[in-house]
Symmetry: C2
Subunit: 377 residues, 2 copies
């Protein structure tokens, strides 16, 4: 069984081509991780996620600890077996979701107490329990518990949360050393809001703790793309070059391209799956809103440049009909298209880096993919 590791293969215009090795397989980076919140990438069979090109998926500790429960998943043989995904799985710490339970949670030095959104039951998430849950699930890449604050935030508030997150990082690291299996990895998470000095301090202190990978947390929470990218520029230089860098919860195709240009290797976001359930498709010509009546008699496929069956074999007219009628198949096809598109995008990014033309690639696609298709809708 191989251990966890990262190899930097090539660099081009700030972008990094690499490879993460895990006992469950290799993750080609830059990588986008489809989100399987409740042990399923919504509206897709696991085979479709694999076939789309995903090397790794993300699952949410908060949702799984409440339903079906981490101990139950462990008794059933772990998350991989439970959901029939034999590739690597990254789990978050549950912190982000818990923090967003405004009015239902209380943060102390010890951890976060909260009430379940499912049944109102009381729970306590500490750094140690967050690691224990992730070990029970059996995830390959685990995340420290951190405090993610809403932006904009005053500097004192951002500093307090960043420093708490550092103390929790140490507790997570100790718990992980006790509980994890060989080949599993724990990532530290850089916090500090949009304050460069705090981000630098957080990155440097985490780097000194020698995690096998680092996440940039607390972004894409309302600060806007420009502020996010500026924060990345002020953070990434302080992260070790020989470790993978993961930008949590991001983002649009444009966000991915811009963040790769700033040295990010890993992403996750509900955008492709959630958009698919709401009639929105990502294509190589831009976003397409299938709810729009202009598709009602359009016999063309969704995206001839895609190799996804959902993009090539069904007419826009049919997809429009399915979406308007609220049919399962509409969500199934558009989710499939979107998850596939995101993987094609990452593959194209990796090729561009390998061939030393990432800047050209970014120039061509950074805006095009963000826009709605020509014609307006």
């Amino acid at each position: 069984m191989s251990s966890f590791g990262y190899r930097l293969i090539a660099q081009d215009s700030g972008a990094r081509l690499g490879e993460i090795t895990t006992p469950r397989g290799i993750i080609r980076t830059p990588a986008f991780m489809p989100v399987g919140t409740a042990a399923t990438v919504k509206a897709l069979y696991p085979e479709q996620v694999k076939q789309a090109g995903a090397d790794i998926i993300l699952a949410n500790t908060y949702h799984l600890m409440l339903r079906p429960g981490a101990e139950r998943v462990a008794r059933l043989g772990g998350l991989h077996k439970f959901m029939r995904w034999d590739g690597p799985i990254l789990t978050d710490s549950g912190g982000f979701q818990v923090m967003s339970l405004a009015g239902l949670r209380n943060i102390t030095e010890e951890g976060v107490s909260f009430r379940s959104h499912v049944d109102g039951s009381k729970h306590m998430l500490t750094p140690e329990r967050a690691i224990e849950i992730q070990c029970l699930l059996g995830s390959d890449i685990q995340m420290q518990l951190d405090e993610c604050i809403a932006l904009p935030a005053k500097i004192d508030e951002a500093r307090r949360a960043m420093e708490l997150s550092l103390r929790w990082a140490r507790r997570c690291q100790r718990a992980f050393a006790d509980m994890a299996k060989p080949g599993q990895a724990l990532f530290g998470i850089v916090q500090g809001g949009t304050y460069p000095e705090l981000r630098r301090q957080s990155a440097e202190e985490l780097a000194a703790m020698d995690f096998p990978g680092y996440a940039v947390g607390g972004l894409a929470v309302g600060e806007g793309q420009a502020a996010m990218l500026e924060t990345l520029e002020r953070t990434v230089p302080y992260l070790p070059k020989n470790k993978p860098r993961y930008l949590m919860g991001v983002g649009t195709p444009s966000d991915l391209i811009e963040s790769v240009a700033r040295g990010i290797d890993m992403f996750d976001c509900v955008m492709p799956t959630r958009a698919g359930r709401h009639g929105l498709a990502f294509t190589w010509s831009g976003r397409v809103n299938l709810r729009n009546a202009r598709h009602a008699e359009d016999p063309r496929p969704l995206d001839e440049k895609s190799s996804c069956p959902a993009a090539r074999e069904y007419s826009r007219a049919y997809l429009h009909h399915l979406v308007k009628a609220g049919e399962f198949l509409g969500a199934m096809l558009l989710t499939w298209n979107n998850v596939w598109f995101y993987q094609e995008l990452m593959a194209a990014i990796r090729r561009a880096i390998a061939e030393g033309r990432f800047a050209e690639f970014a120039a061509e696609y950074r805006d095009r993919l963000a826009n709605l298709e020509p014609n307006g809708e």
Copy 2:
């Protein structure tokens, strides 16, 4: 291009093994048609329906005439191309759904006027328009417009509706002669409530009109299985032996076995698909309610006797979790399992007839498949 035809291959204990030939392929009978109401068998890709063993599917004229509209489907190349199903399609006349719009519809000699459940718009469905719509959709087997009354009904009411349905049958036959393409077929529908004399009259008059196939309508509307089967026994003997017989809207596995024993060749029902969206699975051991907590830690697959991937490759614990969490994948897997099971059941029925052991088969399965799995739930 071959024309429409029926061939009786074998008979055993009242059950018939046969084959319907259409320009779009052969339908092995007894056949169960999955229901694709709005041009999709809910929660399944068309490839899965085919792979499950279905030779033919049903689509609903009422739903399609309102959304996306028959003329629109015709402009897009017809229903087969629209929904990517290249096998035969049977459409109903729309009558059954329209009649059930209590308070929103008005029946006259001319036809039925009604308001759309989608947008409240006014529509008129006549025998001629019902055929026109089905020809626009391009369905291979079309149904006459009939009046389906609620049961129990007084004999005068049942007679009035039966006689109106006969007059509409003649008008449909004339319209079909004008509009249909070679190889398409129009079925007459026997009505008459639970009154043997009315059923006999309806069947004999329709038989004299020489339709290529006959449906038994107006059953499975609350009269109970015993009354339904008795009505079948008093109806089927008056239908031509050399034509297929279709029992509309039926039913449970037990209903299928009992009706095949009484000479029925074709079925349709929303049961396998609807049940799949509500956590109920059909298996060779009986029905399984995946909502039940006793499945929460059951690592066994749903049905080891099934060859469906949904039945074999996922644990009951996982299916329970998906159903409780309201995940798309739960509905997708259980619908897949159920549609597949219904096709396996029909294949087993056909084999039993071919091998002259249908009575034994029926004795073994008629009750078992109707019951919940042992242990109670």
